[in-house]
Subunit: 137 residues, 3 copies
């Protein structure tokens, strides 16, 4: 069994942003020299997520509107008594989750034709880490 770990730091220009990281994950898989296994892609902050979906800008706008409907920004979250203002980002993280695990088959990320991987930033404009961990043989 082999394992390979790499970290990526994001400091998005906007507070909320979807960053296509499919190539970053594919690169980590290639560097790991693992032919059969799995790769874990996981935000290390609790106000960001990782998702798999379509790389289509209209859909991305739909996703942001939908996230705002289900986990809206509000001033009155109890969490804000700590001085924070990002309660909605915590709930958005719970909604879409902070991680995915993807199959590696014959040395390649084994994704479907429209599956792209995105880092979903809900409270950006500051450096935040994500781990990519490849495991297999």
């Amino acid at each position: 069994m082999k394992a390979y770990t790499t970290y990526k730091i994001f400091a998005t220009a906007k507070q909320r942003e979807l960053v296509n990281i499919t190539e970053d994950v594919a690169k980590a898989v290639a560097e790991a020299k693992i032919r059969e296994g799995m790769v874990l892609v996981s935000a290390m902050h609790i106000t960001a997520g990782v998702i798999v979906n379509d790389n289509e800008s209209g859909l991305h706008q739909d996703i942001w509107e939908w996230l705002e409907t289900l986990a809206p920004f509000r001033r009155d979250y109890r969490h804000h008594r700590t001085g924070e203002s990002n309660g909605d980002a915590h709930l958005k993280n719970l909604l879409v989750h902070h991680q995915v695990i993807l199959p590696i088959t014959k040395g390649k990320l084994d994704l479907g034709p429209w599956q792209s991987v995105f880092y979903a930033e809900f409270d950006g404009q500051r450096p935040k880490r994500m781990v990519i961990k490849v495991m297999g043989e």
Copy 2:
């Protein structure tokens, strides 16, 4: 370490359907001859999901109603400007997720007494792939 990969193609009769795949996953685990490890069950399309829940038809109706409340069909998703009409299926996929990873212990799927695995089709009536990848020893 051993790895075993198999694919299943679904072409559901209905547009939306929950398909019990517990036996398919158990069969893949048996074929893999892996006694300790994990199995990844992952939809390869972005308009389908994989969930673990109860095999109870009343609950399944509750789940469909609930999904329609939180990620409703709408004509006016921006994604539909591409000619698609399945924006809600993308959001339902984000809500329930496209994958689960299940433990394998002593050669068997290590599920709780009421845990069944389901492929959740949100935009069916056409062939769509799912991957089952077993990893362990």
Copy 3:
């Protein structure tokens, strides 16, 4: 490759409760003597979940309110025709998911600075199992 499996039984005092299990997961990783790998933490019941978020009591109250908004208790779930009254707990489980998979690097749980792991009980006051499975080398 090595695997290590342990189970934890919860019987929460309250019907709904977030239990911080970060130390339990770290202990399992230490016992597994695995330096590079992954750990799966998975509720074996379909009315409980496992989440990663902040260990901040105000946020936890926000999370409970939010879960009740998106997956409310209702008398009229079809699932209740079976005699159950926990339909909302099934939907809350689908919303937050029953599992996480966490990286292990250099012998330690590789979490971000504010990431804590919680068992989320949605229908407690009775014994329920969770599995922790460590895999790696």
